[in-house]
Every structure is written in structure tokens, then in C-alpha cells.
């Protein structure tokens, strides 16, 4: 396995060229990928918001945002700016401390989860060993923030919305984790880099989606439920709960919820592409392409191409899934709370358990195909 581009190493060497010690170069390097990924996440959200509005408009035979920038591409920016300068209101009888802490607790775990999203062999902030498990653990913090803001708003709708969000998160976390476990079992590693690397032996034919179709569907359904996307947007069902836990929020605190929701959507889409759609992998193996045009896979040109194609492929796959989520939003009606819990506990949970069992059996029976 070639290591591909290693930007940190190059940066370190360049810094040492300036006469800076390796330790300090490492410290200088640390904030760079974090900042880059933070910017990527925010830009990803802006693009997603724009896409959401444009695609929603197209699905309803409207035009959508048009005047802010070409094709309204600056509309999300304008929205964000508006929220930034809006008055920050804390309701009179609300609990000020928890009211402020809630949105932060919702946003921070989501952003932290970007730690493990790989855009290439070395293009991620940190290849932590527990990788995907970290994401599952972090996303379980979110309901606390939701409950907190629901409680602190001192509003029936907010409290109900917060409780619903927490119930939903808890019940969908289990099938989600189980379907991830099936993937992990095949790749013998929790690390996202290993999970992708194990899928990229034969181009798109070796993607996990062929070996884990059930897991793929379960994961996607659960991810939608975790993001509170439309078939499962009960916590903010406007006909019943005004806006759920966001009811009392305005200005930047509301923007934090909004941002968290969309970052979570993009993150889930990215993780689906990492877990099931080969992550940064090109549909046709790059080595094969290189040999077709008579280039060595280790040449600098091919390396740069692999890196660039990796980023493009990851984002492309993720945005295809975002598109699917938006399409689903305008196709499916909202489920009732009892249907939601039924689906989670009586349908997804047993099926994901069976999926896990079948994967284990297949792994023992066909160790070549299922990562023995």
C-alpha cells in the first residue's frame, strides 16, 4: 500500500529547512488541518443549504433563491449574516446558563466528529485508532444538549421537542452502531482510513455497499433519524411543536442549531461514503488507470491526481447522498412518534442484529471476500 501524499511530513521538512525544530513544526502544523476542516465544514454547510433550497424549489416547480449572487449562491451567507446581527434573546423565565450551553453542546460534538473524516490516505486531522467509534460516542452527547435547551427554554413545546429528540437519538443509535459494527468486523479495524483502504482493492466492485446492502440502508435511515431529517423530523414538527427545542431561540444561538443540523447531515453523508461507498476511492482503481496510460503509480503526477481525485470523490459521493436526503424530504411524509419508535426498535434493531450475525457467518465462511 503506497502511502500517498503526506502533507505533514512535507510541512515538517519545509519548516526544518527554515531552522525550526521538529517539535515546534508539529505544533505549528496542528491548527492548520483543524482550521481547514472547520472551514470545509462551514462551506459544506453553506453549499448544502443552497442545494437544499434550490432542489426543494425544483421539486416544487419553483425557482428558489435567485438574487443573492449568481443563482442565489450567496443566499446562505446572507442568512448567516442576518442571524449574526440579530438580537440575542433569552426568554425572561428561562434558565440563562443552560439556555446558552445547550446549542454549544449540540454543535461541538458534531464538529469534533470531523476529526475522523478522511479525504485521502493522509488527508484527515487524526487517524485515531478508535475512529468510527469516536463518532458514535460523540454523537451520543448531542441529546444532552437538546434536552438541556428544551428544558432551559421553559416552554412546553421546547421540552417536548427536546424529549422527542433524545428518545429518537437513543433508539436510532443502536441499529446505527450495529450496522457500523458489521463493517468494522469486515475491515478488522475501527479506523476510518483502514475501512476505506479495505474497500479499494478493485474499484467500485469492492465497495462495502455490495457486501453490506442491508447495513447500508439501515445506516442511512438511522443517519437521517439522527440528523432529524424529514421522515424523522418529529423533534421540530412545526404542525405540532412550533419548532421543538428551537422554539425560543433566536440569532446566533439558533444559528448554532441550524449549523449543527446541516454539519451533521454532511458528516453523515461523508461517513456513509466512507463506510459503504469506498470513501476517497476512485470507481476504477487509480493503479489500473496509471498502467493504462503507462505511468508508474508512484510518480508525482499520479500521486497528486490520486490526492485530488480522492477529495473530489469523497465530496461527490457525500453530496449525492445529501441530494438523496433532500429528495426524500419532499417524498416522504413525517412518521408518527409511535411509528418512529416501532421502526427503530422492532424493525431496524432486529434486522441489524441479523445483519451482524450473517456478516460474522460470512466472514468465517468466506474469509477472502469478507475480510478474514
Amino acid at each position: 500500500m503506497n502511502s500517498g501524499l503526506d502533507l505533514e511530513l512535507s510541512f515538517n521538512q519545509a519548516m526544518q529547512g527554515f531552522g525550526i525544530s521538529s517539535d515546534i513544526a508539529h505544533i505549528l502544523w496542528l491548527p492548520l488541518p483543524m482550521l481547514l476542516v472547520l472551514i470545509a465544514a462551514v462551506v459544506g454547510v453553506l453549499v448544502t443549504v443552497w442545494l437544499e433550497r434550490k432542489i426543494s424549489a425544483a421539486a416544487q416547480q419553483r425557482i428558489g433563491p435567485e438574487y443573492a449572487g449568481a443563482l442565489g449562491i450567496l443566499q446562505p451567507m446572507a442568512d448567516g449574516l442576518k442571524l449574526l446581527v440579530k438580537e440575542d434573546i433569552i426568554p425572561a423565565r428561562a434558565d440563562g446558563l443552560l439556555f446558552t450551553l445547550g446549542p454549544i453542546l449540540v454543535l461541538v460534538p458534531v464538529i469534533l466528529s470531523w476529526l475522523i473524516v478522511p479525504f485521502g490516505q493522509n488527508l484527515l486531522i487524526s487517524n485515531v485508532g478508535i475512529g468510527i467509534f469516536l463518532w458514535i460516542a460523540l454523537s451520543s452527547i448531542q441529546p444532552i444538549g437538546l434536552l438541556m435547551s428544551g428544558y432551559a427554554s421553559n416552554n412546553k413545546y421546547s421540552l417536548l421537542g427536546g424529549l422527542r429528540a433524545a428518545a429518537q437519538s437513543i433508539s436510532y443509535e443502536i441499529p446505527l452502531a450495529l450496522s457500523v459494527l458489521a463493517v468494522v468486523m469486515m475491515s478488522n479495524s475501527l479506523s476510518t482510513v483502514d475501512i476505506v483502504a479495505q474497500q479499494n482493492n478493485a474499484g467500485f466492485l469492492s465497495w462495502n455497499v455490495w457486501r453490506q446492502p442491508v447495513g447500508f440502508v439501515i445506516f442511512w435511515i438511522c443517519a437521517l433519524a439522527e440528523c432529524e431529517r424529514l421522515p424523522f423530523d418529529l423533534p421540530e414538527a412545526e404542525e405540532e411543536l412550533v419548532a421543538g427545542y428551537q422554539t425560543e431561540y433566536a440569532g446566533m444561538k439558533f444559528a448554532l442549531f441550524y449549523l449543527a443540523g446541516y454539519i451533521n447531515l454532511v458528516l453523515s453523508a461523508l461517513l456513509v461514503s466512507v463506510l459503504y461507498l469506498g470513501g476517497w476511492g476512485f470507481p476504477i482503481p487509480v493503479n489500473l488507470l496509471a498502467s493504462w496510460i503507462g505511468q508508474s503509480p508512484d510518480s508525482a503526477l499520479i500521486q497528486v491526481f490520486t490526492g485530488a481525485a480522492g477529495i473530489v470523490m469523497t465530496i461527490l459521493k457525500a453530496y449525492l447522498l445529501v441530494f438523496l436526503a433532500i429528495l426524500l424530504r419532499w417524498t416522504t411524509p413525517r412518521v408518527r412518534i409511535d411509528q418512529l419508535l416501532d421502526l427503530g426498535w422492532k424493525f431496524l434493531l432486529p434486522i441489524s442484529l441479523v445483519n451482524l450475525l450473517v456478516t460474522a457467518c460470512l466472514k468465517l465462511a468466506f474469509p477472502i471476500a469478507f475480510g478474514g
Binding site: 432542489i55 424549489a57 425544483a58 421539486a59 416544487q60 416547480q61 419553483r62 425557482i63 429528495l327 426524500l328 419532499w330 417524498t331 416522504t332 424493525f347
Partner: protein, 211 residues
Amino acid sequence: MLGFLQKVSNYTKDAISAANYLAQGLSVTFDHMRRRPITVQYPYEKLIPSERYRGRIHYEFDKCIACEVCVRVCPINLPVVDWVMNKETKKKELRNYSIDFGACIFCGNCVEYCPTNCLSMTEEYELSAFDRHSLNYDNVALGRLPTSVTTDPSVKALKELAYLPKGIMDPHEVKANAKRTGDLPKNILKAIKKPSTSQQLSDNTIIDDKQ
């Protein structure tokens, strides 16, 4: 054991049919994405109302004989006809007439039954006001001539779908003098009366006064 298997197979069938319906729904949504947006950029573009559009009611004070038929046929007796009996001429003398468009449902009964045709429906529909009492139009306000979107230079007038020429779906690409599909009602009537020359008639220049 068999019962359990039956359960499992029912379960699977349900799941598959649910997935099937979901795919159907998704394909419908997807199909809608390639359709033309029906958006009209309102203050800058306006749709031309159809010929028999029931908009704000126009009223001619001089034609009115104060018979109050309009009041009687109105579902809520809305028009206010303020007249006095002139003892000398033994005739009704009309002093005021008003209709409150805040309550009118634009059913057009008054127009239909008016014996002197002093009431008529216009194509005006922009009746928003800051105060609902300002929607109570008196005879002066009712007598104002309606404005037309086609004559307003600041507005791009768009034809409705039914008035577009054959094969064209987007009103933006229609030339101002383009003929709509099909014949006008009066031409159709003529064609019915003389079936032998129908082809000839529809080929003749048809004056489309509205479009």
C-alpha cells in the same frame, strides 16, 4: 415453526413493498425536478387574467336605477344602495352606492342580474390595504376604470398556460402577438353554425383582442 416463517415472510414482503412505494415516490419527486418552474416574479411580472376573470367590480353610477336586485341576489346582501324617493318626479333618486370588498366573495351574482348592466367584473385583483375599512368602495371608487397589466410599462405581462401558442410551455419566450392554441369562443360558435367552412374560418385572421 411454520407460523414463525410465515411471520418472517410477511414481514419481508411488507418491507419490500414499502421500499417499492418509497422508490415510486422518489421517482415522482425526481421527475418534478425537470419541470418548468411556474414562478412569476410578481411585482415585475404579472399573469394576464383570463377573459372571464372575476376581479374587482366596476360600477357605472349613471346607468343605475337603484332597483336593488344586486342586493337581493348577493349571498350576504352586501351592496349598499342609498336612494331617496323624489316625491315630485315619483322616481328613485340615487345618492350613494358602495360595495365592501373586504366581505365580497366575487361570486358575480350582482353582475349577472343587474338589469341595466351597470355592474361589471374587471381583471383587477390587487386589493390589499392597510385598513380593511378602506376596502369599502363607494360609487366613485367603484367607477374608476381598471388598470390593465398589459398597459403597465413597468410590468412584464405573462400569458397563462392556456393562452400560450401550441408547443410552448414558458410564457417568457412568447412573442407579444403570438396566437394562442385553439380558436376563440366566438370563432368556435361561427364554426359550429357553418360546419362546411370551419377550416376556412379558423385559418382567417382572428382578432384576439385580449391576448
